[in-house]
Every structure is written in structure tokens, then in C-alpha cells.
């Protein structure tokens, strides 16, 4: 049961709030410049922090001389790792491993690592003083490439690797030493050798993805202060306020209730503002100075704070001559940089999807999280999946063409259908693989002839489809509060960073309670007020928080109906909720405000609904890596492109872009459409030109002058987005997440189109003119040497 929605066409529910084209609740605030961002926050008595960063990729610290910096007029203090130890004796943090020191101790592991902090009331003074801090290094051999580093037996980024034990799925990890592989995941399903023996052809290729930057336009920023009772109040542009609270409390050995973390609208996140970034440092600085401290990164500093994993994927696939994939063996090395951040979870969660949306008899997957001396890598819109889809969907085209089968037909033959087990053993349910592929074919008019052009500009088309498992296990809790006049507030920890979650949550609550979505107020994350939420990441909020909000709204509704039943004498089943109140069978109608006024004798009281959502999950088996409940839902995204390749310059231009995503049920079709299109454009940057370029660990293009992101001129002439709705049995109103779906398939779709246009295969992103031109020259037997 699925249907394809023409974008913008609402499909209503009973109360008509879900599926309605509600304008974003914060529209006016954003266009008037009034929307609250932590970027805007200043408090009296505040100190500005500026970070002194390592200039060396891997070194022992022999000494830090802060004297001259401390003497600069206006400098309040200069803080080093030794000072941090006085307030936090074990200052190592991180979501998957406790490996990142708040400020470097004894060693630096990447260029840009924070070594000291200057504090001053004038930010310019602090900035100037950072140049006066002298650090004496003893250089060590650096490791930059993930495969090299994984094999190293002499140089280690960390002497001991310490798992955090935070996540249920990573709980069993043991500390390791003498390796740069922080974590590995293996999946073994079926008899691989026997399956390969059945194959008529075996293909093996290696694909690589580059480091890229999230680059949210609101720089990463945190302001921490002590409250009157000495507790911590942390204002932070974070996607995960609950996690920040838990982690800062852990570092301090405090109970959670002494740490308050709040956020506001984020000026973009994309994974850059996840888990813990500046918060531990700024909290420590506030404790040391007993003053409010603000740290806002410059654009350059963002490049050194978090990146997307570069990855090397070697994929070996056995196929029969009629185009059936029978065996797949895939090895992935993730370049995690110097600190694990969420890399180990990327390694596992992406790792197990490396076989793609295909039904394959035997699968063997190995996925390695590798430390290197580069800036830390984390999650960026897709949690590693785009790097894997880049490999398996590029290879799918290579195989199809070698076998003389149409690339679409090849995918149709192998597509994983509902009712069939995924490589992990989890049986597919309510997954839109077939629907997305077919919609993509229709939109691309794949069965129609295509003009490849002649002369120097050649045209080609390509498509690709990717699948992602929602990160699990995770929890969301929500409160729905009906105030004494019957108006409604939704308390949830989902951070609205532009994805429109405030509006979606309001629509869900409104639909249950028979209210207008526009009348619902969504209270922004503040751990003092809003309940626990794992984080705003991995396209999880619509499903997890959406369910929590729906359950909380139903709880509030049940209580309201029960009160009204008590007051009117009707049975609860006879009462109906509509238009912000309860209708009785005798035609009488009571607003929620009326019901509360009758209960308390005046305008007073609250009805508080609580909802908590925690989907069932089974951790992968330690030997096989399999689980019959690996994820609560799957996301499927397909991309199709038509490109023009200039054979004289190597320039690739996307002239038509088609993005298809299965969202289960579009809570707000316009917002869903824009999420798909935004993700697709972002991925276009990663595919065609975005690349962090390193020289001895230093980012040589750490500015928007040298690192270009997609702008107006990069828009394809034709841009089409198609929403597919395959409702999920456990989704709120059938909905699934959509934030990353548009990212999944684009890169290989472009490479496949380039091949279709000019017959050269590109194995590494980005597809810069230089890379494409080199491949074209090689095809002509005119190999170019390195410049």
C-alpha cells in the first residue's frame, strides 16, 4: 500500500492537521531577523574565549608558555589542560569513546586541536593574545590515510582506546591498545564461498569519498554560566541538549539536575552540532573563572572541529550472467580523524547496510573505524551511508553495463522487497524500495530514448538508490500541556535547525487534540523544562519524537475526555474530541478551558500528557553481526540526474535533478519536499566540488573563499522532487524520517551519468573538472602526470 503524492497536495487525516500545508510556525520570526539563535546571546560580565590550536598533526607537548599572553592588557586569564584537571580530574569526553581531552594533555593528535584558551572581556584582545602563547612540540610521525593507519604497527594515535559504554549497541566494546582501529563491525550471512562459486562473473572495485565540512552558517557556539546556587547553565547551539547534560554531569561527577542545557533555533546543524563539541570546555572555563564564558567558533575553526568521514570502500560482487547478485563482500575503512566522536556508531550503523537495497544470498561485511591525525569526523547528513551508496551504486552500474543489462533493470532484478530478510536478518516491512525505484524510473522517463549529444559537450543520465536504517536504539519523551484556558504547549527536546520539526510536532499534537496546528506552541529544548530526547539526528525525530508527541497528546486527550465524562455523566466512549474541545452526544460542546474551569471552579490547572517512545531493538550478534530487529524503520532515497560533460574541460553540469524519497506519510508535504531537495543540493556540493584539502594535516582551504558550497548558480536548470508514501505500521500517522533521504543516491547517480555521457568511470569524489579530464585523457591513452 503506497501512493505517490504530487508535491504540495495535502492528504488529510481525521482532524486534517497532519498532511496539511501549514506554514512554518517561526516564519515571521525568521524573516524579521528576530528568531532566537544562541549566536545572539550575550550576558552581563561575560568573558570571550579564544582557542590556541595545535599547528602540528601529531606531537608531544614539551611545554606551554602562557606568560606573555597573560601580560597583554585586557587578558583575564590563559587556561591550559593542566588548569582543566583541577576542576575535571578525568577530562576525556566523547559519545562513543572517552578519548577527547577538553584541552590537549601531553600530546596533540591533529592540527587545530585546542591546546590553550585565552579569556578576555574584549574578543579582539583574546584573539590577539592567542598569538602570544608559545607551545613547544616534539613531533611524531603522523598518519593521514585510513587504510595506512589501520595497518600501522608502530605509530598509534592513542596509546589506549577507551570505550564510553554510552550506547546499548556499543556496550560490549573492550579497551584496546597498539592499534588505530577503534572499533570494527563484521557481518557474516550465508556461505560466501559457495555463493561466489555460483557466480558467473566477479567484480571488485575500490571507491573513495573525501573529507567534507558540514559548514552550518551559524558557527558552533556555547555560552556557560554558573547559577546563583553554583549549578551550571549552558546555552548552546546543539542538536543534542540531553546528551550534553549527561556528558557534562558525568565529567563533573554531578547529578544531572545540577546541569541545565538549553538551545534555540540552530542556524543549520547537519551533524556538526551533535553530541558534545564546545560544551565541556566552556563549562570548565565558567567553573574556573566563576564568570559567564562564551566561545563562538570562526568559520576556519569549524573546519578543524568536525568533518565528514573520508572512506575507502572495497566491494567484491558475484553475479550470474542473467544479472542476479549472488554474493557480496565489502570492506570499509572510515577515516575517523584523531577523536572517535560518533565514528564507531557510523562504522556499525552504516557498516551493516553496505550490501545495499538488494536481495543477496550471501553477504560478508567488514567495517573499520580508524584513527588518523586529521580533525575528528562525525555524522553528516546520512551517517556514512552516502559514502557506501557511492560505492555500491557506482558498482551496480559497472556490473549492469558489463553484463549488457539496463542499469534500471539490473536494480529491479535484485531489489530487496518487503517480506524478504535484509543481510542483517531483519525482515523488511513497509519499506519503499520498489516504489522509490519505480517512481525514479517514471520521473526520469527512463524508457524513452535519450540524446547523448555530439561535439565537445556530451550528455548522459544516471540513477541510483540507497537505503538507510534508522539509528537504534534511541528514546524520545514528550509532554503535552493543556493550560488552564485550553491552549496547548508541546514540550520536546527536538531541536529545530531548519528541518521544520516545530511545525511537524505541532501538527501531530493538533491532529490528536482537534486543534489548529498554528495555535500550538512548541517549547524549545531546555533540560530544565523539556524531557529527555536522545538527539536531533539521523532523520529520527519525526518517527521517535513524533510518536512521543502523539502519545503525550493522546494521554492529555484521554484525561480531558475522562474529566468531561465525569462532569457530564456521559461515557468517555460517547464523547468526541474536536475543535479544541469535547462534544457530547446531546449536542453540547465544552472547550478544554471549560472543562478545566468546571474542574477547578475558575480558570486554573493543567492537563499534562506524557508520551515516551522507545522502539524494540536487538543488538547484532557478536559473531555474525546479525539481528532480526536491527532498526525500527528504513529510509529509501533515489536520485536521478541528466548531466552535460564538457570533454575539453572535464566540467560536469547537472541539468536535471530528480530526487525521490519515501517518507511514509508527509506530515507537512512542503517541508518534506524541501528537506529532500535541500539534502540533494548539499550532496551535489560533496559530489562535484566540496573537498577539504590537507597538507601535513593542515586544511589549506579552511575558509569559504577556498572551500565552495553550492550557491544560486549551481542550481540545476530542472529540479524535481517526488514524495513516495509507503506508510510505516509504527510511524506516527505512518511517517518515517526524511532529513537525509535526499543525500543517499546522488553521488553515484552523477558518476553513472558521467559514464553514460563520456564512457569514463570515476572512483573518487568529488568529480572535479580536473579528475574527470584526467580520466578522459587516460581513456584516450594520454595519461597526465601529477602537476
Amino acid at each position: 500500500m503506497s501512493k505517490v503524492l504530487e508535491s504540495g497536495v495535502p492528504a488529510g487525516t481525521e482532524q486534517g492537521q497532519v498532511g496539511r500545508a501549514v506554514k512554518r510556525l517561526e516564519s515571521q520570526a525568521k524573516v524579521t531577523g528576530r528568531a532566537e539563535y544562541i549566536h545572539n546571546l550575550e550576558v552581563p560580565g561575560m568573558l570571550h574565549a579564544k582557542v590556541v590550536r595545535s599547528t602540528i598533526a601529531h606531537a608531544r607537548i614539551r611545554g606551554i608558555d602562557t606568560q606573555e599572553a597573560k601580560e597583554l592588557p585586557g587578558v583575564y586569564d590563559v587556561i591550559t589542560g593542566e588548569d582543566i584537571l583541577k576542576v575535571i580530574p578525568d577530562p576525556y569526553y566523547g559519545p562513543a569513546f572517552h578519548d577527547q581531552p577538553i584541552l590537549a594533555l601531553d600530546k596533540v593528535r591533529h592540527v587545530g586541536e585546542p591546546v590553550a584558551v585565552v579569556l578576555a572581556t574584549d574578543v579582539h584582545v583574546a584573539d590577539r593574545a592567542t598569538d602570544l602563547v608559545e607551545i613547544d612540540y616534539e613531533e611524531l610521525e603522523p598518519l593521514f590515510h585510513e587504510v595506512e593507519s589501520a595497518k600501522s604497527e608502530t605509530t598509534f594515535v592513542h596509546d589506549v582506546i577507551r570505550p564510553a559504554g554510552t550506547f546499548a549497541d556499543l556496550k560490549t566494546l573492550q579497551p584496546r591498545a597498539k592499534t588505530n582501529v577503534s572499533m570494527e563491525y563484521h557481518l557474516r550471512n550465508g556461505d560466501l564461498d559457495a555463493a561466489f562459486a555460483k557466480a558467473d562473473r566477479v567484480f571488485e572495485h575500490t571507491f573513495r569519498s573525501q573529507q567534507v565540512s558540514h559548514l552550518p552558517l551559524e558557527p558552533i557556539v556555547t555560552l556557560a554560566q554558573l547559577t546563583d546556587t553554583g549549578n551550571l547553565l549552558i546555552h548552546t547551539a546543539s542538536q543534542s541538549p540531553s546528551f550534553v547534560r549527561i556528558e557534562v554531569a558525568r565529567l563533573l561527577g554531578w547529578p544531572e539536575n545540577k546541569v541545565r542545557v538549553r538551545t534555540a533555533y540552530l542556524g543549520g546543524g547537519f551533524g556538526a552540532k551533535l553530541y558534545i563539541k564546545l560544551e565541556a570546555l566552556v563549562a570548565a572555563l565558567a567553573l574556573i573563572t566563576q564568570r559567564p564564558v562564551r566561545l563562538s567558533l570562526t568559520m576556519e575553526e569549524q573546519f578543524y572541529t568536525i568533518t565528514r568521514h573520508a572512506a575507502t570502500v572495497t566491494i567484491r560482487t558475484g553475479v550470474t550472467n542473467d544479472g542476479r547478485i549472488v554474493a557480496r563482500d565489502c570492506k570499509t575503512w572510515w577515516n575517523g580523524g584523531a577523536y572517535a566522536d560518533i565514528g564507531p556508531r557510523v562504522t556499525q550503523k552504516s557498516g551493516f547496510t553496505a550490501a545495499g537495497p538488494y536481495d543477496i544470498e550471501a553477504v560478508s561485511l567488514d567495517s573499520y573505524a580508524v584513527y588518523t591525525n586529521l580533525p575528528p569526523a562525525g555524522a553528516l547528513r546520512g551517517f556514512g551511508i552516502p559514502q557506501l551508496v557511492w560505492a555500491y551504486e557506482s558498482q551496480a552500474d559497472i556490473i549492469a553495463r558489463e553484463l549488457g543489462i539496463d542499469p534500471l533493470e539490473f536494480r529491479r532484478k535484485n531489489i530487496l522487497r518487503n517480506g524478504r530478510p535484509h543481510a542483517t536478518g531483519t525482515v523488511m516491512e513497509d519499506v519503499g524500495t520498489v516504489e522509490v525505484l519505480e517512481e525514479l524510473a517514471r520521473k526520469m522517463r527512463w524508457d524513452e530514448p535519450f540524446d547523448h549529444g555530439s561535439g565537445p559537450i556530451r550528455r548522459g543520465r544516471g540513477l541510483a538508490i540507497g537505503i538507510k536504517a534508522a539509528v537504534s536504539p534511541t528514546t524520545s519523551v514528550a509532554f503535552v500541556n493543556l493550560y488552564s484556558d485550553g491552549s496547548c504547549g508541546v514540550y520536546c527536546g527536538t531541536v529545530d535547525m531548519g528541518q521544520g520539526s516545530d511545525t511537524a510536532m505541532a501538527q501531530i499534537a493538533a491532529d490528536v487534540l482537534g486543534l489548529e496546528a498554528e495555535s500550538v506552541r512548541v517549547i524549545h529544548p531546555d533540560t530544565e523544562v523539556t524531557p529527555y530526547d536522545m538527539a536531533t539526528l539521523g532523520s529520527r525525530s519525526t518517527f521517535h519524537m513524533g510518536n512521543a508527541v502523539r502519545l503525550a497528546a493522546e494521554d492529555a486527550k484521554r484525561q480531558m475526555v475522562a474529566l468531561c465524562a465525569e462532569q457530564t455523566g456521559f461515557a468517555p466512549e460517547a464523547l468526541a474530541v474536536q475543535d479544541g474541545g469535547v462534544a457530547a452526544p446531546d449536542g453540547s460542546f465544552f472547550t478544554y478551558g471549560d472543562i478545566l474551569a468546571r474542574r477547578f471552579g475558575m480558570q486554573a490547572g493543567n492537563v499534562l500528557g506524557v508520551g515516551s517512545y522507545f522502539p524494540y531493538y536487538k543488538k547484532p550478534d557478536a559473531t555474525t553481526g546479525m539481528s532480526d530487529h536491527i532498526t525500527p524503520y528504513w529510509m529509501v532515497g533515489g536520485s536521478g540526474v541528466e548531466v552535460e560533460v564538457d570533454t575539453e574541460t572535464g566540467k560536469v553540469r547537472i541539468v536535471r535533478l530528480v530526487t525521490v524519497g519515501d517518507c511514509g506519510k508527509a506530515i507537512n508535504p512542503g517541508i518534506v519536499k524541501r528537506q529532500l531537495s535541500g539534502a540533494s543540493f548539499m550532496q551535489m556540493g560533496f559530489t562535484l566540488f566540496e573537498e577539504m584539502v590537507f597538507d601535513e594535516g593542515q586544511v589549506v582551504n579552511a575558509s569559504m573563499a577556498d572551500y565552495k558550497i553550492p550557491g544560486f548558480w549551481d542550481l540545476p536548470e530542472q529540479n524535481e522532487v517526488s514524495i513516495v508514501e509507503v506508510p510505516h505500521r509504527n510511524g506516527p500517522f505512518g511517517a518515517k524520517g526524511i532529513g537525509e533521504t535526499g543525500s543517499l543516491g546522488l553521488s553515484p547517480a552523477v558518476a553513472n551519468a558521467v559514464y553514460d555521457a563520456v564512457g569514463v568511470r570515476i572512483y573518487e569524489t568529488p568529480l572535479t573538472p580536473e579528475r574527470v579530464l584526467r580520466a578522459l585523457r587516460e581513456q584516450q591513452g594520454r595519461v597526465w602526470g601529477d602537476a
Binding site: 545572539n40 552550518p216 533555533y265 540552530l266 542556524g267 528541518q499 512542503g670 575558509s703 544560486f712 548558480w713
Partner: protein, 174 residues
């Protein structure tokens, strides 16, 4: 510390003065002195457009523009275009077309679009892309922004047809 210099200028129509450092940028001065939080520094190099401010009728990058230079000038920010209840036609169009996601680049986009429409009441897609190419949106709401500029152009043409001058039409109608 260098010596402070007092500058006097009009901010969104009202006369103001502020003592500034000679190296202070317009973004810093507008935020520190007047809490004009629509003016935002992101790239710090005049490349992203988040800090777009109008000085004497010309859009400038506030992160590169020294505050001392606005002495005697007329400075306009998004705060001066419209209010929560009274949006300007360009602001209205951005709401109607959902020309934003995270909203961080939005004030800069609106300032630039406002200036474009004063110069060119009926721009083509190409002209919009060309004029706005110095404003970046990491959420990539570009198609919606282009649609919003077209929608705003329609609104403004309707207003000028009704007798408003282009200069008054561009402001929220009070």
C-alpha cells in the same frame, strides 16, 4: 587599545550615535550597540551574505565594512523593513514561498532581494541568480528563494500600480 571614535548615523530611520574602535566592523557595532541581531557574521570574509546591511541605499557586507565608515550615513537592516505583524512585501513573499529553512541567511537574502527589486522590478531567474550569488544558504533553499523574489516582485508591481512609489512600496505598509 586604540582611541574610541564617536560616530553618528541614522539606523532604520532614527538618529543614533556610538563610540566604536577603529577596527570594529559594522556587524560588531550594530550588534553591540543596538542589538541588531539580524546582522550575522558567518564566514567573516564577505562571501556568504549573512551580514548584508544597506548603507546609503547600497548593500554592503557588514563583516568587512568598518563601523567608522557609516558616520553620517543612512543604515538599514531587516529590523527596519517590517515587524512581526507588519511584514514588508519581500518578507511576506519569503513566508509564502518558504524561502528559508534554518533562517540564518534569511535577513541577508531579504536585504539583497529588496535592493534587487528596487533596481529591477521584474527580474528573470538568471538576473536573480546573478544578483543574489553573493548570498549563500547551506540548507539550499535556493529554488524557494527564487520563487519568493518573483512573488515579491509581483507584490511590489501591484503596489506601484496602486500609486505607491518604489521606495515606499518596499517597506511594510503601516
Amino acid at each position: 587599545m586604540a582611541e574610541l571614535q564617536t560616530i553618528r548615523f541614522r539606523l532604520n530611520g532614527r538618529p543614533v550615535e556610538l563610540a566604536v574602535q577603529p577596527y570594529e566592523t559594522l556587524v560588531e557595532a550594530l550588534r553591540r550597540g543596538f542589538q541588531m541581531y539580524s546582522v550575522r557574521e558567518s564566514c567573516g570574509q564577505g562571501l556568504c551574505g549573512c551580514c548584508t546591511v544597506n548603507v546609503d541605499g547600497r548593500a554592503v557586507s557588514g563583516c568587512l565594512y568598518l563601523a567608522v565608515l557609516v558616520d553620517g550615513c543612512d543604515v538599514q537592516t531587516v529590523e527596519g523593513l517590517g515587524t512581526l505583524n507588519q511584514l514588508s512585501p519581500v518578507q511576506e513573499a519569503f513566508v509564502e514561498c518558504e524561502g528559508f529553512q534554518c533562517g540564518f541567511c534569511t535577513p541577508g537574502m531579504i536585504m539583497m532581494a529588496t535592493q534587487l527589486l528596487q533596481e529591477n522590478p521584474d527580474p528573470t531567474d538568471e538576473e536573480i541568480k546573478h544578483y543574489m550569488s553573493g548570498n549563500l544558504c547551506r540548507c539550499a533553499a535556493y529554488p524557494e528563494i527564487i520563487a519568493a523574489v518573483h512573488r515579491a516582485a509581483e507584490k511590489l508591481r501591484a503596489q506601484t500600480a496602486a500609486g505607491n512609489t518604489p521606495a515606499t512600496a518596499i517597506m511594510a505598509q503601516r
